[in-house]
Amino acid sequence: MNLVAFLGALEIGCVYGLVALGVFLSFRVLNFPDLTVDGSFPLGAAVVATLIVAGADPYLATAVAVLAGAAAGLVTAFLNLRFRILHLLASILTMIALYSVNLRIMGRPNVAIIAEPTVITPFEGLGLAGLYLKPLVAFAVVAIVAALLARFLVSEYGLAMRATGANPRMARAQGIATAQSTYVGMALSNAMVALGGALFAQMNGFADITIGTGTIVVGLAAVIVGEAIFRGGGIVVAVAACLLGSVIYRLAVALALNADFIGLKASDLNLVTALLVTVALILPGARNPLKALLTRGGK
């Protein structure tokens, strides 16, 4: 693996680290299997690209993208809590609706912003080669978000949110408004995923309607890899593990793709990811906390 491939893997690992944090919050903390991310990731990209093309400030555009993601999470939570639609189905409904919404926002399947200013532009004057700059910015963003998330989860409100996912009846008996903390958690989760999408678009110079496909599986893979490596420890370790899991997963993929003797092509990525998650779920003795949520009879 050469330096370009290595830095590229770091960059994409950090961008998808945001997805992993979002997936961690919904799946692990709230116990809410949420597939909305397949729609909220491209939603973030679509909003940011469209606004930047229209001449908006890239930071403002990113903020709007984050809010759009939060709104998508609220819709899924609303369908589940208000109308008692099953978690998975509620999130699939939002996801499929977002496909059309994203096309409406962009007006076409692909928007290029390669020549436009992005959130990275202000840092380009610092004299750092573009090769190093992008992974650095991506890492800074995801590290800040992860730190904020970890701090949130050890707060009174964050602890209440964790109780909501772990034992809702006990949470209510302790005076926790479980519906409210589910709304807040789902909004935060999809806001982080949309931020990932917004960063992805600005790093790669385009937003495309297809970039959302399989986002959830990539996020799950990162969470699973992270938990497999950093087992035990408190919630702060678990949050850091998601981020590191995402980077390690991308590095492993880059290694595999670059090793000619395996004969893998870049287009095999989704197949490899699906296999990895499947193996992690069916491997006997794998003490994977997600297993209970994602397999029948696991609980």
Partner: protein
């Protein structure tokens, strides 16, 4: 003080599986009294507790706590006044969270939960002190996951959690039933100590007649959603478990008689 007026709860009204769990229950419990509640399965004991916590809305009637009508308060709002220990040790705590995190959850019961850190030095010291009183050695394991504790240890921690915040009412739902005899005695003793120390108005549901007479100062027997026996103080002191069982059978016998009358 708790006042329950003409409380009715009907599940699935108007259907073939309609269940009238409570049928006009009246009960007044003065502040600081420890009441044990007995009754056969389906007598309405758990429904009564669920009404007090706000988990089950009454079909009819009122519930007043210290003179305030709380009938329409949701469970989250009620939690500022009511603490509960469940029968199932798994139900009252979060096994995925640590002991101190569980305690922190209970310490914030009935308060606004903000973004301040849930655990800090002063709080940890308070938890340590409260948990060390149990004499189970758990004060050195505050960072352990709750799931690592035995059922009895979890019930003991649940009791501490219930009394961390000043509370008006403590509800105990057969909280020793799932424990082995030794742990049962321990949790029973702990219950008595905590209730006396905090002077809590307490309602304890139990199936064990002996326990119903040993703890507290008043025993109420529910049958078919109504209070059919209410003994306190001297009258109760003269009763043994056998007398209670006899009274129990008497109440059930009446029911059998009326059934046989209907059938004949």
């Amino acid at each position: 003080m708790i006042r329950i007026e003409n409380l009715h709860v009907t599940f699935n009204p108007g259907t073939a599986i309609e269940t009238r769990a409570l049928r006009g229950l009246d009960l007044e419990i003065p502040a600081g009294q420890f009441v044990t509640v007995i009754g056969s399965n389906g007598a309405g004991k758990t429904t009564l507790l669920n009404c007090l916590t706000g988990e089950v809305p009454p079909t009819e009637g009122r519930i007043l706590i210290d003179g305030t009508d709380v009938t329409l308060w949701p469970a989250t709002r009620r939690s500022a006044l009511v603490a509960r220990v469940f029968q199932d040790p798994l139900a009252g705590t979060c096994e995925a969270l640590t002991i101190e995190e569980n305690l922190a959850l209970a310490a914030a019961r009935g308060t606004r939960r903000g973004l301040a850190s849930a655990l800090h030095a002063a709080r940890r010291a308070e938890f340590r002190e409260k948990i060390s009183r149990l004499g189970l050695g758990l004060e050195d394991r505050l960072g352990d996951r709750m799931g690592l504790l035995s059922g009895g240890q979890r019930q003991a921690v649940s009791l501490v959690m219930a009394t961390l915040r000043p509370t008006k009412i403590l509800l105990l739902d057969e909280h020793t039933a799932a424990l082995d005899p030794r742990m049962q005695d321990f949790v029973q003793r702990l219950t008595r100590e905590l209730v006396e120390a905090e002077r809590l108005t307490t309602l304890m549901v139990t199936h064990a007649m002996r326990q119903a007479l040993e703890l507290g100062g008043r025993t109420v027997m529910l049958h078919e959603g109504r209070a059919v026996l209410d003994v306190a103080d001297e009258e109760r002191a003269g009763l043994g478990p056998a007398d209670l069982v006899a009274l129990f059978a008497e109440v059930r016998g009446q029911e059998l008689d009326s059934d046989s009358l209907l059938l004949s």
